[in-house]
Symmetry: C2
Subunit: 381 residues, 2 copies
């Protein structure tokens, strides 16, 4: 066993501009880094525990749970290890084996895998339009639910991805919330890409459950998430153990016993503020789209952008790659030279990126860098 | 919403000697702290992911998985969020609803709650002797299994707590492993308190599954654990998603996507070394017991100690508390004055403690401090 490989673990990309959409919302503010020094040891959040992690007063985890519920406007909140674990908890506690769940065709893979783990059947709601917007046909939820009803299938849950991880399309959650309500089916909104970036109001959209991701969109270290739920489902979600009545079954007593929770908490004031500046983030995103489309990129997904995750079709990169001796890797390598990472190496037909949270000057630097790479390549070839 | 309470989060006990057994094995070495600086942002471990977290090569997570398997001598290892999540994964993937599991009466509450979540029935194996050793009757597993067989019950799993969290009793796992093997029932050994502190050899004790806890006993930030399993159960534990064949269902694709895993990895060389010095740790523990028994404490659990967690009956503290105006809190407060924490405030009949990982001088300081508190109190009263 060569133990030297575990010494001096280093993140090569740490100081660079990272355009990977999954990385942009999880960058820690200084406050959270300071808190890490305090709580990095094992079970250190448990110093003053009297039996249930989320009722600890010092650090103020108990109050935090309430403030988070207010932040997303849901009755209750619990901590989870991430959005996916929250989805599984909902499915496992409110559905019966072999129930059906209805979800959008842009749903994240973890929604499918959580359903598989909970032994549920999945039915998809498709697109209103495929290429180029891949817009989900939200009214389609009604039809799918009607059909399942006609077939006497038991539908346990309606799930909508608030913003998906492929096209960054924002869905009008209230539409689906209303349909679900009318049908009497519980409604889960997956806010992994929204809570912590943009304002989300659970009651307004008629969500029974909201899952969010700390490491993805709430400036926290991974893995941490939150699950918001309405009072109606408290007895199922927060069901207590018979033998250990203080412990909630679905959370195995206590979920996030450690550091990620501390960072989520320390970052919270920063997150509350940044959500208010969402409009400014959209301006950056739209500027990026406008400038890159001038270079021959084509934005996929709904226009204009209502989220920072952008997927582009990039025939121009594909064309260059055919003539560059580095093949598809030229784009990655040229960006890297300029201190920019987070674009998949070797991929040239489509690229995903986000400039969320970058300073305007950095956004402009990104645009100028891409412009330079493309013009230079055209010139050289 | 008063956001000021989340500013400058501080751990009051950070610099003090902490005798709480759940805290002693999770203290980070410097190497792990350095790694935290590198990887504190969100999904930062995922920079070079090609679809499955535990196959990432940079940082060397994939190799780490193999080295951990070698370390505990099991065929395979996966990362979990902790010991309890590992237990749930085993129960959920290999048992059928309403199956029976057999476990020891000293089992951790999370073993019961995991079984409840997996909708299983629990049958306990009792004590060979109650007070004062609370030694589990390991041969009793045979009888319990025979009885369940006679009643035509389906037994899905045998679980043994390697060292329990109440008395710190070490169980001879091989005995139970052999009984389980003979009966053809899979055997899970809960090593939350052993792997990372003392040598554990999964095959030697005939374990099909081993769960361990990073934040508890492997010098890692919480929450992180490992699940070791034998090849025989690979198809069930590591079952892949139908729609997303790279993703393992029970792990929801990827489990520990973040910082705790990094600390587990960075601490690994240190943990491998410290396990070799387990004998020295036992000497410290036995010295503690010897000295405190001179003061009127009485060690509960099996003698001599084979683990650092010690539970004492403390009639002497109870006696003092009746005359001290601070009541039961005098012990906590006097220790605190001396820079020692981790004893439950107000409790005087029984106390739990561990000096695991302290320097000999610190161990002696702890003993001298307790001696001083008791003699002084006796004198004053
Ligand atoms: C839409 C969506 N949902 C869920 C997830 C998973 O989040 P978590 O890691 O918190 O489970 C992601 C992550 O990429 C996502 O994009
Ligand atoms: C014997 C035992 N098992 C399991 C656990 C739970 O460990 P984890 O937090 O990793 O789930 C503990 C924690 O106190 C324990 O003492």
């Amino acid at each position: 066993m060569n133990l030297d490989i575990y010494k001096n673990l280093h993140r090569a990309n740490r100081e660079l501009i990272n355009l990977n959409p999954i990385q942009r919302g999880g960058i820690l503010p200084t406050e959270a880094k300071k808190a890490i020094y305090e709580f990095w040891d094992g079970y250190s959040v448990c110093d003053f525990c009297s039996g249930k992690l989320d009722e600890i007063q010092n650090p103020p985890i108990c109050k935090f749970k309430e403030d988070l519920a207010e932040f997303i406007n849901m009755d209750f909140v619990r901590f989870t290890h991430g959005a996916r674990e929250g989805k599984f908890i909902v499915m496992h506690s409110i559905c019966e084996e072999n129930d059906y769940i209805v979800l959008d065709k842009n749903a994240h893979y973890t929604s499918y895998v959580a359903a598989e783990r909970a032994k549920l059947n999945v039915v998809e709601v498709g697109y209103e339009e495929e290429y180029p917007t891949y817009k989900i046909n939200l009214e389609g939820y009604k039809e799918v639910l009607d059909n399942l009803e006609d077939e006497n299938k038991n539908v346990g849950l309606v799930l909508l991805t608030h913003v998906d991880g492929n096209f960054g399309n924002l869905n009008d959650a209230k539409k689906v919330g209303k349909i679900a309500k009318k049908k009497g089916v519980p409604f889960l909104l997956n806010c992994a890409y929204t809570v912590g970036r943009m304002p989300v109001d659970g009651k307004e959209v008629k969500a029974d459950f909201i899952v969010a991701s700390g490491h993805k969109s709430m400036a926290a270290s991974g893995p941490i998430g939150i699950l918001g739920f309405s009072e109606e489902f408290e007895d199922k979600i927060a069901k207590r153990s018979e033998k250990f009545p203080i412990k909630e079954i679905e959370f195995l007593g206590c979920t996030s016993r450690g550091l990620p929770l501390i960072t989520l908490m320390a970052s919270f004031p920063y997150v509350v503020e940044r959500v208010k500046r969402w409009d400014e983030e959209l301006k950056k995103t739209r500027y990026l789209v406008e400038e890159l489309e001038k270079l021959g990129f084509k934005q996929l997904g709904i226009k204009p952008k209502e989220h920072d995750l952008v997927k582009f079709e990039t025939p121009i990169l594909d064309e260059i790659s055919k003539k560059d001796k580095r093949k598809g890797y030229f784009f990655y390598e040229e960006l890297k030279k300029r201190g920019i990472v987070g674009i998949k190496p070797g991929v040239t037909k489509e690229v995903k990126m986000s400039v969320y949270g970058l300073e305007w000057e950095q956004v402009k630097y990104v645009v100028e860098s891409i412009k330079e790479i493309i013009l230079q390549s055209h010139h050289t070839l």
